[in-house]
């Protein structure tokens, strides 16, 4: 009985494209209507499905055909349930793809379908650049210097709310920069929400192709893309090392052996 639901959906879609399926789609729909009112299917649609599938299975394996025939009701309930489960999950995946650019924002590396994704899976494309963001200063120069504020190096993070690589990087960035509070200036810019003109200019300067996330450290170091390929621990150490370098080792963690080693590599 329940099999009518799946059949109605599938045949209904097929019927849009081909007249061949419309008659049987109507039959399936009438079966669903009868089922909703707890009445048996008057055309025997479910029986027809059972016998046709059994006949086909019999040609391949009689035992399986027998199992299918005898357990049709149970199998059709399971099949219908899994149909709706997988349909729901597919819809969720398509939504993620449209909004986040990846099927699985939590673990984007699991998604095989990622339009515009970079092969290293660390960058999101961003095309929402405003062409008019700039700060004019004397003699047609454009002021993008913002490496330090009151002697403290400025650390920029550019990302969006929907980019999963930004989602990966942001907490690590905030976590590490928080340790240097007072010794650095941190500016996190979600470029799909707020677009302060200076920040946008800096972003365009460093991310010429508009990829995100972008981290700019004290006007000396920058990276386009997240540190996912490094892994969380290494990324924390790298960020710590660079921040130690530009702020002259202000915190105890800069003496850590691993951090010191990385710092020496800069």
């Amino acid at each position: 009985m329940v099999i009518c639901i799946v059949a109605a959906v599938v045949l209904g879609i097929l019927g849009i494209f081909s007249a061949r399926y419309r008659k049987i789609a109507r039959e399936a729909f009438s079966c669903v209507k009868r089922m909703m009112t707890f009445r048996p299917c008057e055309t025997g649609f479910d029986d027809k499905v059972r016998s046709h599938v059994t006949a086909k299975l019999m040609k391949r394996n009689e035992r399986i055909a027998g199992v299918f025939y005898r357990n049709f009701k149970l199998l059709s309930v399971l099949f219908t349930a899994s149909f709706f489960l997988s349909a729901g999950y597919t819809a969720y995946t398509v939504y993620n793809l449209a909004v986040y650019g990846t099927c699985d924002p939590v673990n984007p590396q699991n998604c095989v379908f990622n339009p515009g994704a970079d092969p290293n899976r660390v960058i999101c494309p961003y095309e929402g650049l405003s062409p008019n963001a700039s700060v004019a200063t004397i003699g047609n120069f454009r002021n993008i210097e913002s490496a330090t504020i009151e002697g403290r190096p400025v650390i920029y993070f550019f990302g969006t709310t929907w980019c999963p690589h930004c989602a990966w990087e942001r907490p690590i960035f905030l976590n590490v920069t928080a340790k240097f509070s007072g010794f650095i200036e941190t500016k996190v810019t979600e470029i799909d929400i707020e677009q302060p003109t200076l920040e946008m200019e800096i972003f365009k300067h460093y991310s010429t192709e508009g990829k995100i996330p972008v981290i700019v450290i004290g006007g000396k170091y920058f990276r386009v893309g997240s540190g996912e390929s490094l892994g969380q621990q290494t990324e924390e150490n790298v960020l710590t090392a660079i921040l130690c370098k530009v702020s002259n080792d202000p915190i105890a963690e800069c003496s850590d052996q691993q951090v010191k080693q990385l710092e020496n590599g800069l």
Binding site: D47, H52, A55, E62
Partner: protein, 415 residues
């Protein structure tokens, strides 16, 4: 293919089934099919198709009306067909053969033409096809007759004692199926006719399944009316015959009236023709009837006794093999000797429609499934329906073996 040898009292007949099969275009065109739905529709041999084509291609004209050469030729062929069929059933004269569209129409003609009144009794068996049940239910509603059903024995054979008990002087008509389309069981019609006549009742037999499969001698049987179908005896679709004793036909009021049923009319009156024309209103299916005449001739050449023996032998093979299947139940009479060429059965754990569908899709075996237009019998026995294989002269022993093997395979699904 081995020819079937049939031994009669004085000589051997050889029915060359292989040669017969070559006459049937459907068997040549749909290779690999096993046609076991003859109780519903028989296949048509080329001579029958040819005769119909001849009418359409060479002498298409009105019969019994037009005075030109084509009309005369068509009339000649039509009359010849009527004579052939009269001879086929051994009627006294060809005027005792009325052409109808099918058995159903023949029975309806009688139901509407017989002079039945309130208080009259019509007796039937409990295994009637709807065509020999519903007309009498309607007569009961419209005229207030009593419709008595004779219950069969528990083994599904006809209860002659119960029938005799049901008879009385009020019984005007005994109308029964000769050979049942449910299970191929043949009623003891000779005794039925004799008993009915002893009580002054007339007898109508539904011969749809009997006449095509065994020798029919209406005079020997002394039956008063016999309805049967052309399409079940290799004849074209849309053809049927109602045989009636002439003196009885003369007394019947016509049912469908109009052109060619009257000698003359005025605006107020009409003068009916004699039988059979009185009952054949309007233009008939001339091509069909001429083809039907050829079908009767074709069957006569082969011999009805040969066909009957052939079917019984096939049924025996099938029944023996089917008995080996543990979850198979025969429907109706159990013994194969009591069945002609029809085998009705169910497989436990399976729906009958599934059985027929799988036989068709996976094995190319064509049978019917359902209630076979005999809902009353199935309802009274609490059986939902059955799968039914029905045989004819062109089926072979190999087909019988194939069928049994296929049913065995399918039976495993229901275990």
């Amino acid at each position: 293919m081995k020819p079937t040898f049939i031994y009669s009292f004085s000589k051997c007949f050889v029915m060359d089934v292989k040669r017969i099969r070559e006459d049937f275009p459907v068997l040549q065109n749909s290779k690999g099919i096993v046609y076991f739905d003859n109780a519903c529709m028989s296949l048509k041999p080329r001579p029958v198709i040819q005769k119909m084509l001849e009418y359409y291609e060479q002498y298409t004209a009105c019969v019994g009306r037009s005075n030109h050469r084509l009309g005369k030729l068509a009339t000649e062929k039509y009359v010849e067909a009527r004579k052939t069929i009269a001879k086929f059933v051994n009627a006294r004269k060809e005027q005792e053969i009325v052409f109808t569209r099918n058995t159903t129409e023949g029975i309806n003609l009688l139901a509407n033409s017989l002079d039945l009144k309130k208080g009259d009794v019509v007796v039937s068996s409990d295994r009637e096809h709807n065509s020999n049940l519903i007309p009498w239910q309607l007569v009961k509603e419209r005229k207030g007759i009593e419709h008595r059903i004779v219950k069969s024995r528990t083994d599904n054979t006809f209860d002659l004692e119960a029938f005799k008990k049901s008879m009385s002087r009020q019984v005007k008509l005994v109308t029964m199926v000769w050979t049942s389309n449910i299970d191929g069981y043949t009623l003891p019609v000779r005794e039925i006719v004799k008993t009915a006549h002893d009580f002054g009742a007339v007898v109508l037999l539904d011969g749809a399944q009997a006449v095509p499969h065994s020798k029919t001698d209406v005079r020997r049987l002394d039956v008063d009316f016999l309805a049967f179908s052309g399409h079940k005896m290799l004849g074209p679709t849309g053809t049927g015959i109602l045989y009636g004793k002439y003196e009885l036909l003369e007394r019947l009021q016509p049912f469908v009236v109009g052109g060619d049923t009257v000698e003359s009319t005025t605006y107020e009156t009409h003068k009916f023709l004699k039988p059979p024309e009185r009952f054949e209103a309007g233009l008939q299916d001339y091509a069909g009837i001429i083809g039907l005449g050829e079908a009767a001739r074709y069957l006569e050449n082969i011999g009805m006794e040969n066909i009957e023996s052939h079917e019984k032998a096939l049924n025996k093979t099938i029944s023996q093999r089917l008995l080996e299947i543990p979850n198979l139940q025969f429907v109706g009479v159990q013994a194969s000797e009591l069945r002609g060429g029809i085998i009705s059965f169910n497989l436990k754990g399976m729906k009958y429609h599934d059985v027929s569908l799988m036989l068709d899709r996976n094995h190319g075996i064509l049978i019917r499934s359902g209630q076979h237009c005999a809902h009353s019998w199935f309802n009274s026995h609490g059986i939902e329906g059955s799968a039914r294989a029905s045989l004819y002269l062109y089926n072979t022993q190999e087909e019988a073996e194939l069928f049994a093997e296929a049913v065995k395979k399918i039976s495993k699904l229901g275990k």
